[in-house]
């Protein structure tokens, strides 16, 4: 239990008359790679939004390494070490590739107004550091040669990768990936699987991802949580989930995809 990083205890949220998420609980241990699946509209992204402070739960609690996250603003939660990507890619499209990464490092780097204006030593040193770090990150997905391109000009798959890199630039403990494999073909997905595993190693990450690509999820996740209509209906390892009757029922008609 000393390894428990994220403790989500029966969180719920209501939008008007609709309870989008109802009594959802989840535990993430350090270094874990878990998946959150469920049919469309189940509330998966809503869970992410609750965990990152975009929405406030109407009940329940969220704790990161013992500290309660309820009531904190998204930027405060981000500074505590939770980073995320978005279902609909939210890159800074008109800024350059490297600027997107540098922005990920923004909250960790501090040089004052005066330093900046006078182009002081500290400013120049920090900027150089940041750029070096940013380039290293870009090299992971071979995006370094495109560093001055406009982020929005990248092909879709590379944009998704860039968003992951930007999240990594914040040096998170916990990484939430919202459909990282969306729009990717089989070979790209395989490549992504490798990269995600490597990233976890290299950066000491705990990862929770939402995905619809079942091959991806079953192959890479150690534990899977299943959500349907805002309620968690199952939890366990891939094999357990594949044969779970409730899960199959929820995905009625698409059970071929599960194998």
């Amino acid at each position: 239990m000393a390894n428990l990083l994220l403790d989500v205890d029966k969180i719920s949220i209501q939008f008007g008359g609709l309870k989008a998420v109802d009594g959802f609980s989840l535990q993430l241990h350090k270094g874990e790679l878990a998946g959150l699946i469920g049919p469309n509209g189940a509330g998966k992204t809503t869970v992410f939004n609750l965990l990152t402070g975009v929405y406030q739960p109407t009940s329940g609690s969220i704790r990161l390494a013992g500290t309660t996250l309820n009531g904190l603003k998204p930027f405060e939660i981000a500074r505590m070490g939770i980073a995320r990507t978005f279902q609909n890619i939210r890159l800074f499209k008109e800024l350059s590739v490297i600027d997107n990464i540098l922005l990920g490092q923004n909250h960790r780097t501090h040089y004052g107004l005066f330093q900046t204006i006078m182009l002081g030593q500290q400013f120049q040193a920090e900027e150089a550091n940041m750029r070096a770090e940013a380039l290293e990150l870009l090299q992971i997905f071979k995006l370094d040669h495109k560093m001055d391109h406009e982020a929005g000009s990248l092909p879709y798959g590379e944009q998704r990768k860039l968003e992951i890199l930007r999240a990594l630039a914040t040096k998170p403990k916990l990484l939430f990936l919202d459909e990282p494999a969306a729009g990717m073909n089989n070979s790209e997905t395989a490549g992504l699987m490798e990269v995600v595993a490597t990233l976890r190693e290299k950066f000491n990450l705990t990862i929770l991802l939402i995905e619809h690509d079942m091959k991806f999820v079953m192959n890479i996740c150690e534990k899977i949580h299943v959500l349907d209509h805002g309620i968690k209906i199952a939890e366990g390892n891939p094999k357990h989930i594949q044969n779970h009757p409730e899960v199959i029922k929820a995905y009625l008609g698409t059970d071929e995809e599960m194998h």
Binding site: F15, T45, N49, V54, F86
Partner: protein, 300 residues
């Protein structure tokens, strides 16, 4: 006590007029999520069209209540046409652009109408002719209720009822509500988005045209900048009631009219114009969705 009743009547009268203009703002906001800065200037044009029509027909020589409706029709039609034209020429091409751009355009249209108005209509104020004979209908609590106030209230209420019927009991109204809730799906269901938006502008502007006549009857001095003051107050009324909400606009308008009257009556009249900005700031800081508005959750 009778003073209080006088203020009450004035407040209700003005409040109804603010409500009519506020409805225009709120309708456009509900359907496009944008504040039509030029709305109040359309109202101003209506007043001047009415003024020149009245002069053309030499109405001041024989005021008769039937003229009222003719001038009303002319003003309403002029405003409706202007609103339609502005939407088609200046706003429609920008529908896919960032919100900021259309806001800037709206400011541009507003300025254009004001300053072109100054050149075309002349800078100095004009006196709106009386459109119908003035008479005291009855007395309440020692205060004379003028036929003017009754007519203003009557026309306003009639317009609002008409609007209500249009929005909630007609096919076009249903389309308007659909587009304001989800324009993508509405389009997929075969609703002609452009036509619905045009229609919204037409109706909103028509209401402004009606308001222009009512104001002209109550405060006969009109000038090209009159839109600015009315615009601020009506806009605040719309925000107060909850922008996007039709009943909110009416409620906001009435509150605006009544509170303004009370401030003028019992406090300093110089604070009257600052009142609207004060109310605006308080509302936006404490309850930005307004009294009857609902919070729109942004999808992340």
């Amino acid at each position: 006590m009778s003073e209080f009743f006088q203020h009450l009547i004035n407040g209700i009268s003005m409040g109804a007029i603010y409500a009519l203009v506020a409805l225009g703002y709120t309708m456009v906001y509900g359907i496009l999520q944008f504040i039509n800065f030029a709305h109040a200037d359309i109202y101003m044009v209506g007043a001047f069209v009415a003024f020149f029509s009245a002069r053309f027909f030499q109405l001041s020589e024989h005021p008769h209540w039937s003229w009222l409706f003719i001038i009303l029709a002319i003003s309403t039609a002029a405003c409706a046409l202007l609103g339609f034209a502005i939407e088609k020429i200046a706003y429609r091409p920008l529908r896919k652009s960032p919100k900021l751009n259309i806001l800037i355009t709206a400011i541009g249209v507003s300025l254009f109408l004001e300053y072109a108005g100054q050149i075309v209509f002349g800078v100095d104020p004009k006196l709106f002719p009386p459109l119908m004979p003035e008479s005291t209908l009855f007395s309440i609590g020692g205060v004379d209720v003028m036929s003017l106030d009754v007519i203003i209230l009557g026309i306003s209420v009639f317009s609002m009822i008409g609007l209500h019927w249009l929005v909630y009991h007609s096919k076009l109204g249903k389309a308007m509500r659909a587009v304001s809730q989800n324009s993508t799906v509405a389009a997929m269901l075969g609703i002609h988005i452009d036509r619905v938006i045009s229609f919204t502008f037409i109706v909103g502007s028509a209401l402004a045209g009606i308001a222009a006549i009512l104001v002209g009857m109550r405060y006969p001095k009109i000038e090209p900048m009159m839109g600015m003051l009315m615009g601020t107050k009506a806009f605040v009324a719309a925000v107060l009631g909850g922008i996007g909400s039709l009943p909110g606009a009416v409620l906001g308008g009435m509150i605006m009219g009544l509170s303004e009257e009370m401030v003028v009556g019992y406090l300093e009249s110089t604070y009257r114009d600052a009142l609207s900005f004060g109310i605006l700031i308080i509302i936006l800081i404490f309850k930005p969705t307004g009294l009857l508005g609902s919070r729109k959750v942004e999808k992340v």
